[in-house]
């Protein structure tokens, strides 16, 4: 502050004032530079070279330096710099390799002063000495830097970088004799102006060209460099080796970098391509820019702080032919827009979540994290250490731990391994998978498979009697004791199944429309079955009722599809129960309880003997044999798949998708399918189920998925003798002309599974080695090693 006031008094004016404003130039700008008095700015480009006065409200064109009849290439400027000691002195670097100095004090219209034509290629940068009035430095594409004394006609000294094109040269602000230069090959060199023979120091700063550099205005040793590799690096040059102290990663190659006055850690950057914004970074905070100026519509080519001691005014020129003054208080601050949140999984499935405290506090009132049942248990909270930077208040960190056991995914692994997905008729696949699911205690899934089997296989493929038989066999398995247990589980399964339907808004409303009493009963049933061990008879009654509905409603609603498709699905597994349940007196009783089934005494009566229950099933089969083709269910099945996927059981969704194949595929859009496949494969691979995942990839019909196992199928083989890659297609190494990977037992080339001892590196065919080891524990190659195979 002290310094600031001193400077302003030196300028004999009050602090700078102004607005964010811009003015249109006639042509794209390549570079800008500010006059010492902070009231004028010079803009240079291929076809523009003008001085503007910065006034309170606007830029005013003050002088056009581009005079003369024919535009000369000498005026096609790549860079411009205004002398910081002498406000009449300017220098430009021309694209044809000429360095021009301009004296505004000349009385004539042409202010051109001197012309140095020593560089052979484009001059990329010119730089005046910060305190010496007559010293000018230039860096060129030809790899040379030249130092000019403006009192002489030619250069005083030439510095050869010995590497490639020079992109930037900057005199050190603090050290009188030092300047830094950056190169196209990524190097930065430090020179002493008195010693043109060799550089003082050289180091590689970036990968690819270093486009710019800037000395810190106060910190003696700090140099910021920006490169094509999208990085801004801050180097500490005071140490023996240049040390990288800060690194900022931007999103595009960095064309210019300028330290912000009076703000030790701030610097402004603009990019060469693609990104048009100007960013001001706090180098200690390299991920989010402190401020951002978004005025330009094309790449920004030049930036300059208006006054060396005022941090709030930034000037910029751009390819979009505008000159802008940005006010720091008008900048957009990305930090404010960001919701600082972090989410991370731990090694054992723990989940950590950090967020601004205000967010967490607001939500914790209503138990926000109960959503995912797999990570429900632990909820621990502690405050982060206070943020070193302003702008962020405190944040909260939440950690969710897995309940031991609850997160066990063994069912997933078992299911994945045991499911059959192809290679057998559909009915068998469904039965098999249903059995697998049941054995793992996943009854709802088992039910689903059974339903699918019946929906898709009953009419054409399997004769009705056969079907009945297999249904009967499917769950009863001749174990009467198990029955009641089974039944209860199934009831639970069913309960959730119904909830499934309820959860789907449209379906439910349809059902309600169709017959409110039926749904009501179903709901009732659910609650009770879940809550107590009511025998399955309820279901039986329910089933009956539904059957009634079917009979009753068919004539009325045969033409509309939606109301009906709910029914068969519910009806079916229930009928399944019928087969299993030993009919008893409670049946009748419960029937009587539900008012809704009153009309179906005949059916109830027929339940008594086993045979007639079979016949009932047959009847209903006949019913949708004639009226309901499998297509009829596809919408429902799709909903079911979506339900499973949303529940997180993408395994089920994908398995059903594969098993049913063409039957449902067309009803689910490609992207969803791809998404399911991708997540399932990802899961499988996490559990190292490579074989299953490959099978799934193979069986998938979506192109994006099936090409997954087409990628990186190359196997690189190195010769076991000379360790060189085997380039030819055969099994003989072209370098040492020996067969690679010979079996130590049979002395043939092993082309399949090769097993070898890690001790002596001999080995061979898996079977051969196994056989050998039965007889001897020494190496078959005769090396005497006692081989061990794990």
């Amino acid at each position: 502050m002290e310094k600031m006031s001193r400077v302003t008094t030196a300028l004999s004016s009050s602090a700078l004032t102004g607005h964010t404003m811009h003015c249109h130039l006639d042509a794209p700008a390549n570079a800008i530079s500010v006059c010492r008095d902070a009231a004028q700015v010079v803009v240079a480009g291929r076809s523009i070279f003008k001085i503007y006065a910065i006034e309170e409200e606007q830029f005013v064109e003050k002088l056009n330096l581009r005079v003369g009849r024919k535009p000369s290439l000498n005026l096609s400027c790549a860079d411009v710099v205004w002398h910081q000691m002498d406000e009449n002195l300017l220098a430009t670097a021309a694209t044809n390799g000429v360095v021009v100095t301009w004296n505004l004090g000349r009385p004539s219209r042409n202010k051109q002063d001197q012309l140095f034509t020593e560089h052979k290629r484009t001059v990329n940068k010119v730089c005046f000495h910060p305190s010496e009035a007559h010293v000018l430095l230039s860096g060129s594409q030809d790899g040379f830097m030249k130092c000019f004394d403006l009192r002489r006609k030619d250069s005083v000294s030439t510095f050869s970088g010995q590497s490639e094109s020079v992109r930037d040269v900057q005199f050190s602000i603090r050290d009188y004799f030092t300047f830094a230069s950056t190169f196209e090959n990524g190097n930065v060199q430090l020179w002493d102006i008195r010693r043109p023979d060799r550089c003082e120091r050289m180091f590689t700063a970036h990968n690819g060209p270093v486009f710019c550099c800037d000395w810190h205005p106060e910190d003696r040793g700090w140099l910021a460099t920006g490169g094509r590799d999208k990085m801004v690096k801050v180097w500490d040059m005071t140490t023996q080796r240049a040390k990288e102290v800060h690194c900022v990663q931007t999103i595009a190659s960095v064309a210019r970098v300028k330290w912000r006055p009076e703000c030790r850690h701030h610097l402004a950057t603009c990019s060469m391509m693609v990104d048009h914004n100007i960013y001001v970074w706090d180098v200690r905070r390299p991920f989010v820019p402190a401020a951002m100026f978004e005025e330009h519509r094309d790449v920004t080519t030049g930036i300059a702080w208006r006054h060396p001691h005022d941090p709030s005014f930034l000037l910029s020129g751009s390819k979009d032919s505008t000159l802008c003054q940005h006010l720091f208080r008008d900048a957009s601050q990305p930090v404010e827009r960001a919701n600082p949140e972090g989410l991370c999984y731990g090694l054992f499935g723990d989940l950590a979540f950090a967020a601004k405290e205000s967010l967490v506090a607001a939500e914790s009132g209503r138990k926000p994290y109960a959503g995912d049942r797999r990570h429900p248990i632990f909820f621990k909270r502690k405050l982060d250490p206070a943020e070193p930077f302003a702008g962020l208040a405190s944040s909260a960190l939440s950690v969710f731990e897995m309940e031991p056991g609850s997160g066990s995914m063994s069912w997933f692994v078992d299911t994945a391994e045991r499911y059959a997905l192809a290679g057998r008729p559909l009915a068998e696949l469904c039965d098999h998978n249903s059995k697998v699911a049941r054995e793992l205690g996943r009854n709802q899934v088992a039910q689903t498979w059974t339903m699918l089997r019946i929906i898709y296989c009953s009419p054409g493929l399997v004769p009705t009697t056969n079907l009945n038989h297999s249904v009967g066999k499917g769950s009863s398995c001749g174990l009467p004791l198990m029955n009641s247990f089974n039944l209860k589980d199934m009831a639970q399964g069913l309960g959730s199944e119904t909830r499934l339907d309820r959860s789907k808004g449209d379906t439910r409303s349809d059902t309600v429309l169709l017959d409110s009493s039926a749904t009501l009963i179903t709901n009732e049933d659910n609650e009770e079955t879940e809550g107590s061990d009511v025998p399955a008879d309820y279901l039986l009654g329910d089933a009956e009722g539904e059957d009634d509905e079917l009979y009753l409603l068919d004539p009325d609603h045969a033409h509309t599809e939606e109301p009906e498709y709910v029914l068969p699905q519910e009806a079916f597994p229930l009928r399944h129960e019928i087969v299993d349940t030993p009919p008893g007196p409670e049946n009748l009783q419960d029937k009587a309880d539900s008012p809704h089934v009153s009309g179906s005494e005949a059916d109830v009566a027929s339940l008594a003997p086993m045979d007639s229950s079979f016949s009932l099933v047959s009847v209903s089969h006949a019913l949708y044999d004639s009226r309901l083709p499998p297509d009829f269910f596809s919408a429902l099945v799709c909903d079911m798949l979506r339900f499973y996927a949303e529940q997180g059981d993408v395994q089920m969704a994908v398995s059903v998708l594969i098993v049913l194949g063409e039957r449902v595929r067309k009803d689910i859009d490609e992207q969803t399918q791809e998404h399911w496949y991708a997540s399932y494969i990802d899961l499988l691979q996490r559990f190292c189920l490579w074989n299953v995942s490959n099978q799934v990839v193979k069986l998938s019909t979506s192109r994006a998925i099936s090409c997954l196992n087409q990628a990186s199928t190359t196997l690189h083989v190195n010769c076991s003798h000379c360790k060189r890659p085997m380039s030819s297609r055969g099994w003989v190494c072209d370098r040492c002309h020996r067969c690679a990977s010979m079996c130590a037992v049979c002395h043939h080339v092993v082309k399949g599974l090769f097993v070898w001892c890690q001790g002596c590196s001999h080995g061979g065919h898996l079977q051969h080695i196994m056989k050998w080891l039965e007889g001897s524990s020494h190496c078959p190659a005769g090396c005497g090693h006692l081989c061990e195979y794990s």
Binding site: S72, S76, A78, T95, G97, Q141, G208, R228, M273
Partner: protein
């Protein structure tokens, strides 16, 4: 084998490595385009120059990665998306300066057939790569053995007349024969050619500092060179009828190279200082198709700096001036101007027969003849001529890329 030979080989190997790495990355590694698309684009590009060698090579690869053989019956059998690319292919191959952001927009906004930016950059790199590779193929006289149908299937590349390594060696037996046949012309004559060239280079080196041409003159020299390149065309234009099998990829055979100067009076000159590969092209490519920018950049770099400091029988010559003249002449033919180059140098260093050769190789490689190859730089080694070819193709690739990428950049802003 002396030291120079060795180091020269090492440089070629370096280039070869960089070249193969790039090609492998473009065709095999992760990228936005599916594998068969890549090969098909390669076929499209090579077919524009009727380069049956490359076409055959990639037809096999295309089928091998599961491409639909129906597509090979012509571009109209390929998906609409690839058909859309046909226009860009034509422009890139023959008149890259006509590419505007509207072309890019058409490709990117074609409803369900639209390209993504990343795909487009991949395709552009492939197209330019194969255009220039076709130039190289013709420049080195690599041709398929026409009489063995499908004979390319499982042949290692070395069986095809000569493999790249053999060519770069410059001592391949076939080439030796050419030396003999070409060498008879008149040794003394060509000897003087080299001497004269050396002398000119020396003069230019010396007088550069003394006499500086005025700015206007510099500007007009570029225009002159540009205009002149129009007249540089070989007289023996024996019409090559495109082989049946590849011509199917053409929609428009009549659309060939048109001289910039004849049409380009109203087209503004492309200023390298405003859009160059190192600063702009690289960043764009690397952003949209990661790592490729780096690979191509390396390739350009090695090709541009490739030298073994010999000229014919002279050793330890600084050839950078000559290389720069060749590079800039090619860019000049495409209307690309370097502000910091005196185009008068080109006229001094490159004689007419050489210009004819360059122009033919770069613009209409299918018309190159052995006579042209033999008639320039008669005293130079074949390895040096192959070196020239490398320079030509990389310069051409960069020129095409610059135009295409500039259009993409303009589309993006």
């Amino acid at each position: 084998m002396d030291q120079a030979d060795l180091s020269q080989k090492r440089r070629y190997v370096q280039y070869l490595e960089s070249f193969l790495k790039t090609q492998h990355y473009l065709l095999q590694m992760d990228g936005p385009l599916p594998l068969h698309y890549r090969h098909y684009i390669g076929i499209m590009a090579a077919a524009r120059h009727q380069c049956s060698y490359l076409v055959n090579l990639h037809v096999n690869d295309f089928l091998h990665v599961g491409g639909d053989s129906k597509w090979l019956n012509g571009l109209e059998n390929a998906p609409q998306k690839l058909q859309n690319l046909g226009e860009l292919n034509k422009l890139l191959a023959h008149r890259p300066w006509l590419i505007t952001k509207e072309h890019i927009e058409q490709l990117l906004k074609a409803e369900e057939h639209s390209w993504s930016l990343a795909e487009l950059v991949h395709a552009v790199v492939l197209l330019t790569h194969y255009h220039s590779l076709a130039s190289f193929t013709f420049g080195c006289g690599i041709s398929p053995e026409i009489h063995c149908d499908g004979g390319h299937t499982f042949r290692p590349p070395s069986v095809n007349n000569y493999c790249i390594c053999d060519i770069t060696n410059g001592n391949h037996s076939v080439e030796e024969n050419q030396v003999n046949s070409a060498g008879n012309v008149s040794i003394s004559d060509s000897f003087f050619e080299v001497e004269a060239l050396m002398e000119k280079m020396r003069q230019l080196q010396e007088c550069r500092d003394e006499e500086e041409a005025s700015q206007e003159e510099m500007a007009s020299r570029f225009e002159i060179e540009k205009r002149e390149s129009m007249f540089v065309f070989s007289s023996d234009d024996d019409e090559v009828t495109p082989a049946r099998e590849i011509s199917r990829h053409f929609e428009d055979t009549s659309y060939g190279y048109k001289d910039f100067s004849r049409h380009g009076m109203h087209v503004p000159t492309f200023r390298v200082q405003d859009y160059c590969w190192e600063d702009h092209g690289y960043s764009l490519v690397n952003r949209l198709y990661p790592d490729v920018g780096q690979l191509i950049d390396e390739k350009f770099h090695i090709a541009y700096n490739l030298t073994y400091n010999t000229m014919a029988m002279h050793k330890d010559v600084d050839t950078s001036m000559l290389r720069r003249a060749i590079w800039n002449y090619i860019h000049c033919m495409f209307g690309i101007r370097y502000d910091d180059y005196d185009y008068g140098e080109i006229n001094q260093l490159l004689d007419r027969s050489f210009k004819v050769y360059i122009k033919t190789i770069v613009c209409t490689p299918e018309k190159v003849t052995k006579r042209m190859y033999d008639s320039f730089w008669r005293q130079f080694k074949h390895s040096e001529k192959v070196h020239v070819n490398l320079l030509l193709i990389e310069a051409r690739m960069q020129a095409e890329l610059l135009y295409a990428l500039r259009a993409i950049t303009r589309y993006m802003t």
